[in-house]
């Protein structure tokens, strides 16, 4: 409590508020990621006190991840990769006229998920970081496959097309320099492809540009407001839904925190796994505009940020690209992240925890203002909004690598997404495959090199075995459950 009181000064709160407003702006812009928001704010904090600087970084990262869900719900364009899973049911709810409810749920779940993630960080950082360190290439391979098994869950009822979508995504993910041999695969001599297909332009194209093309098909819809919003957040209804689905929030936050704590995983994978877990438990309702499909990924992605701080603070190992920048900033402030930080800079560490808790509370009013501002913009005529969406998508795609090639890539994926949707081929498995493809292949092959070509370590290590069992359960669980129920009847 004393740490919480110690941060309640204007010199911390004012920059924190500014950084959160900045986080909303950058997070809501398609293609501009939370990592970019943090990277942009770090230079401003050079001459600040460590607490103020780190408060700004914490504020911007949590807010940007939440803000990514705003365009995801209104326009079907994830503001950041972590909002990819939130697109599915958020946008469907918006189409049913429940956009305000979806975003209210999103806001509260983000704050609550973030809170749970931070509390786990405070109470279990050192032991959880130790578990995370036990993950080697064998476990990361299974973690990737576990994430990909969610593609099967997302394709239920449309299995062949879902599988085609996922396999096509996996094949695309093999483009680029091969990690073990250095051989360029399917690069056609294009330098930009050496590093693989950039995931963000692909996602913006698949979800966002395809939606723009779909809207253009209907002339009359271009004269109407892009999104009809009443502007009032449905607080009471959202709280009721959250109470009814409290276990989903807790489960998704735990998934988010744990995956966030694994170095190299992150909020985007966490959100997909939480969404997939929910879909496999709740059935076909998820994906058609169910509040549960909003609650699960939005709780998980913000909880994952707390998770990423666990190995960063306890071991000095970044959980994702944001904490990699944060670690650099901490060194700049003269701090040494690692096991000793809890002894050497105890006061500052607990003040950081207090800031992280405070950010979850401040996220509510700041996020509400962000939703209000964005809903004003998207209530302009669809023709005007769609052109702006294309422009922002281009800036976002370009900004990742300063490459016009990525703009063409985005446009190509937009066309692909449009055609895929024409025949009801789900987009989500392809996005999932694009995120996880490289992770799975690289870890499989490095694991095989380490084991001399043997697959035994993939199946005998305790964590590998647990993950493998989870995959089997995810894929076969519903069928087994059906058989058991039939036999019972």
């Amino acid at each position: 409590m004393s740490y919480l009181l110690s941060i309640l000064s204007l010199k911390v709160l004012f920059p924190l508020l500014l950084s959160m407003a900045f986080g909303v702006f950058v997070g809501a812009m398609p293609g501009l990621t939370a990592t970019m928001a943090v990277a942009l704010i770090i230079p401003l904090t050079y001459y600040m006190e460590p607490l103020t600087g780190l408060a700004m970084v914490i504020g911007v990262s949590f807010t940007a991840i939440f803000a990514g869900d705003i365009p995801a719900t209104f326009l079907r364009i994830p503001g950041t990769p972590a909002s990819g899973a939130a697109v599915l049911d958020g946008f469907e709810m918006n189409k049913k006229g429940k956009g305000a409810l979806a975003l209210t749920l999103d806001l509260f779940c983000s704050a609550l998920g973030g809170l749970i993630g931070v509390l786990i960080l405070i109470f279990t950082a050192p032991p959880l970081a130790e578990v995370a360190l036990k993950f080697t290439h064998f476990e990361y391979f299974w973690l990737g496959v576990f994430g990909l098994s969610m593609a099967a869950v997302l394709s239920r009822g449309n299995t062949i097309k879902g599988l085609l979508s996922a396999l096509f995504g996996l094949l695309i993910s093999t483009i680029g320099i091969d990690v073990t041999t250095g051989y360029p695969r399917f690069t056609f001599g294009i330098t930009e492809l050496m590093d693989g297909v950039s995931f963000i332009p692909a996602m913006i194209g698949l979800f966002g540009i395809s939606e723009v093309l779909k809207r253009l098909s209907f002339r009359e819809s271009l004269d109407l407001p892009s999104v009809k919003i009443n502007g009032k957040l449905d607080v009471l209804e959202a709280l009721k839904l959250m109470y009814r689905n409290k276990f989903i929030i807790i489960r998704s936050s735990l998934i988010g925190t744990f995956i966030g704590a694994l170095p190299g995983a992150g909020a985007d994978i966490a959100a997909w796994v939480a969404y997939g877990a929910e879909k496999s438990l709740s059935g076909n309702e998820i994906g058609s505009g169910s509040p549960r499909g909003v609650i699960a990924p939005t709780s998980a992605n913000n909880a994952a940020i707390g998770g990423t701080w666990i190995p960063a603070l306890a071991l000095g190992i970044p959980g994702d690209s944001i904490t990699a920048i944060v670690l650099g900033a901490m060194l700049m402030y003269g701090l040494k992240p690692g096991p000793l930080i809890f002894a050497q800079s105890k006061d500052l560490v607990y003040q950081i925890f207090a800031v992280a808790l405070l950010v979850q509370i401040m996220l509510l009013p700041v996020g509400w203002l962000g939703i209000k501002a964005f809903s004003r913009l998207v209530s302009l005529r669809a023709g005007v909004v769609m052109s702006a969406v294309v422009l922002f998508s281009m800036v976002g795609s370009y900004a990742i690598r300063n490459s016009v090639f990525d703009i063409w890539l985005m446009a190509l994926f937009g066309l692909l997404g449009y055609v895929m949707e024409k025949i009801n081929m789900p987009l989500a498995p392809m996005v999932l495959a694009l995120i996880l493809g490289r992770m799975i292949e690289d870890n499989l092959r490095i694991g095989l090199i380490k084991s001399g070509g043997s697959i035994i370590p993939f199946l005998t290590r305790p964590i590998s075995l647990i993950l493998f069992s989870l995959i089997v359960l995810t894929l076969l669980g519903p069928s087994i459950w059906k058989v058991v129920r039939k036999l019972k009847d």
Binding site: L164, F168, T181, D223, G383, V384, V404, L415, I423, G453
Partner: protein, 160 residues
């Protein structure tokens, strides 16, 4: 499933099959060695499965198509002809939008970003008749200048 949808599905299945065939062909040309040392192994396996699945989808579609052909009536065709004008307009809109966007991206780097953006916005607003000319010019000017200022100057994001 109507005839148009059938064609779309068949064309995409064929496209994916061809992609798979190309992937397999290219993968087999890559250096081979131990499974973990072969860069072509993963894409070869993925391509082969893609080919099998898309072939299965094509087979399935051909079976449905035969069944659907029997129930194809004249009245349905008439209805389709009436709807085809709207279809043509829809395709025209998409083609113009894609052409506008391609022209815009192609212009980037040749003329200043703000000017290209301004022209693109005015063009798209006018073609889609979203707003009147003076409003289109006003909004396009505002958006292109604020994009340049907010991203280029305030955030330091490099613009195309």
């Amino acid at each position: 499933m109507d005839r148009k949808r059938w064609w779309w599905e068949f064309a995409i299945a064929l496209f994916v099959f061809l992609i798979g065939a190309y992937g397999l062909f290219e993968s087999l040309k890559m250096p081979t060695g131990d499974p973990h040392d072969s860069p072509g192994l993963t894409p070869a396996v993925l391509s082969a499965i893609l080919m099998v699945l898309s072939a299965a989808l094509m087979f399935y579609l051909l079976f449905i198509f035969k069944r659907n052909l029997k129930g194809w009536s004249l009245s349905e065709s008439k209805g389709r002809n009436e709807g085809s004008r709207e279809e043509r307009l829809k395709t025209q809109r998409l083609v113009v939008f894609i052409a506008l966007t391609v022209a815009y991206v192609a212009l980037l780097g040749k003329i200043p970003y703000t000017l290209a953006t301004f022209l693109y916005l005015v063009g798209s607003y006018l073609y889609f008749k979203s707003v009147k000319l003076h409003v289109a010019i006003g909004i396009a000017l505002l958006v292109s200048l604020s994009l340049m200022y907010s991203f280029g100057h305030l955030l330091g994001v490099r613009l195309p």
